[in-house]
């Protein structure tokens, strides 16, 4: 097919150029969190990060799974981990979920949780400037979770407000 072929299709620029029908659906869902994530959420509410360890590949899976997808066997035990990690990658968002402009840009990162053998969490990063992201200074930075006050926690990934850099001298 060369460049001169005329293909079918009728572009429209405005809805009033054609007849359209609108309908919106309001499907609602109640998801079960499941065995692994239910416990994970309960622990988040307590201000703790918990994973499942696979004794075969020795990874600690976060978010936890009752099975190890690599070894395809049941994971062995629950294990608490420090909510500390390093920044694997980070970006600066100037738009919301639905693509509206954000007044204040948001920094989002994948945090590799220490001691897990590669488990990552995707969360907000505070206490760094967009410039630190753009010049890639944040890559490899050690960060820790900042929790919501206990009374405000509800058993959600958002019980962690965000991660912040661990500043000099402050350990665990």
């Amino acid at each position: 097919m060369d460049e001169k072929v005329r293909l079918k299709g009728t572009p429209i620029k405005r809805f009033d150029e054609t007849i359209t029908v609108e309908r919106s659906s309001t499907a609602k869902y109640a998801w079960t969190a499941g065995q692994a994530i239910s416990r994970f959420l309960v622990e988040l509410k307590k201000g703790k990060l918990i994973g499942r360890r696979c004794n075969k590949c020795r990874r600690i899976l976060i978010p936890p799974r009752m099975y190890c997808e690599s070894c395809f066997r049941a994971t062995d035990e629950w294990i608490y981990v420090e909510p500390i990690g390093t920044v694997n990658t980070a970006v600066v968002s100037y738009i919301t979920t639905t693509r509206e402009k954000l007044e204040k840009p948001l920094i989002i990162a994948v945090i590799e949780i220490e001691g897990t053998g590669g488990s990552g969490l995707f969360h907000y990063l505070e206490g760094v400037n967009p410039e630190d992201v753009i010049n890639r200074k944040v890559f490899g930075m050690r960060v820790k979770a900042v929790w919501k006050p206990e009374a405000e926690r509800e058993g959600s990934i958002n019980d962690i407000k965000y991660f912040v850099p661990i500043t000099g001298g402050e350990e665990k």
Binding site: G9, I12, V110
Partner: protein, 393 residues
């Protein structure tokens, strides 16, 4: 060495069809599927009565707001009263559809299969972005409020960090593909732009800017796939399916190496083994690799082992991936230039390799003689690779 598999039939592509790709087309999904399917059949010199089975590829039902989309599309795709199968692996669907068509014929079950891919993203209001919000884990990820661009930006930035890649070297992909698309009759966004235009376009999620991204599109594509004895009878220039491969990673993308698409490598290795390809960078003459974002073309060239890790930007900078280069990549104009009606976009890549290998691509025809080509797609939660290797007859 070739994979030791016993195939009942060698499979050829003998016809291809496309519609326009546009932000919003008046035609319904069925009307688009019909236009592409009819064009493919006519180009093969076949009638619907010659077709034994139909394979349909289309991505999330939620774009159209019609569930059971395979069934919905069946009549426009020529499926009435025939064995029909709908396949779906997110953005990887467009290449997975002819892969499914291949096994329908290779198995010996059918001689003539029509493979149709259709996508209409425009119905979702106010923007299909709101539909993408449903791909994440509802409990662990959605409460963070992810935008689809976030996860690609995270991946792109990790890739840039790991190999110290400059944004302008990534922007060259967008410049090349949009320029290539000027010669594609379906193209939505063919344009002459510069690296500076990309770098000055609206910043969405650093490092992703507006001109780094393919558009939202409507469109359809189709190919006719037949067994060897039919191919020999109806054409002098069949395009053989020499290898197919596909692979899926987990949805736990935050625990993955974001700088390298291992699942694409797994899919490519499967297809190369089947095709007897041991040095893809030398043996693949032309490739259509999945480019919904400019960095993905580079990422995928590396996953496909067409470039060494971190070196695809260098090949691009040196002009090797241009139409007149040693390894032309996306001579069609890709998703960045032709458009991205998800499943149809992947199938468009297969049609481009088909036309390139037959020497029928007109102004888009790559300069060097081409014998072996590849099309690849990618999708789901950054986790699937689908690869097809084609060879001129």
């Amino acid at each position: 060495m070739k994979m030791n598999i016993n195939l009942k039939n060698r499979v050829a592509i003998v016809g291809a069809g496309l519609t326009l790709f546009r932000r919003r087309l008046k035609e319904t999904p069925k009307e688009l599927a019909w236009a592409a399917a009819k064009m493919a059949l006519e180009s093969a010199g076949l009638e619907l009565s010659d077709v034994d089975a139909v394979v349909i590829g289309t991505a999330p039902d939620a774009f159209d707001g019609i569930h059971m989309k395979g069934e919905y599309l069946a009549d426009g795709s020529g499926g009435t009263g025939k064995p029909v199968m709908r396949v779906y692996v997110g953005g990887g669907t467009g290449v997975f559809t002819p892969i499914a068509g291949w096994w329908h014929v290779a198995s010996g079950l059918f001689d003539v299969v029509l493979a149709v891919a259709e996508e209409k993203m425009s119905p979702a209001m106010p923007h299909p972005q709101s539909v993408f919000a449903h791909i994440w884990d509802p409990i662990i990820e959605r409460p963070i409020g992810p935008n689809l661009i976030w996860i690609f930006a995270l991946e792109m930035h990790r890739y840039m960090y790991k190999y110290n890649i400059k944004k302008e070297d990534i922007a060259r992909v967008s410049v090349k593909n949009k320029r290539n698309a000027l010669d594609h009759p379906a193209a939505q966004l063919g344009a002459k732009i510069t690296v500076e235009d990309v770098l000055n376009s609206e910043m969405l999620v650093y490092p992703v800017q507006r001109l780094d991204i393919s558009p939202v599109s409507d469109g359809a594509a189709a190919v006719v796939m037949v067994s060897e004895h039919i191919a020999r009878r109806i054409t002098d220039s069949p395009v053989w399916v020499e290898g197919v491969g596909w692979s899926l990673d987990t949805v736990h993308w935050t625990g993955r190496d974001l700088a390298y698409p291992k699942y694409v490598e797994c899919a490519a290795r499967m297809a190369y083994k089947m095709a007897g390809i041991t040095n893809p960078a030398r043996e693949i003459d032309v490739a259509e690799v999945y480019d919904p974002f400019d960095y993905k073309e580079l990422h995928h060239m590396e996953g496909l082992m067409l470039a060494r890790k971190g070196e695809a930007p260098i090949l691009t900078r040196e002009g090797i991936t241009e139409r007149d280069g040693d390894l032309p990549i996306n001579p069609s104009g890709g998703l960045l230039g032709v458009g991205n009606p998800i499943a149809a976009a992947g199938m468009m890549k297969v049609t481009e390799i088909y036309w390139q290998l037959r020497g029928e691509a007109g102004k888009r025809q790559v300069k060097k003689p081409v014998y072996t080509g590849l099309a690849q797609a990618w999708g789901d939660l950054m986790q699937v690779g689908t690869v097809i290797v084609l060879r001129a007859g």
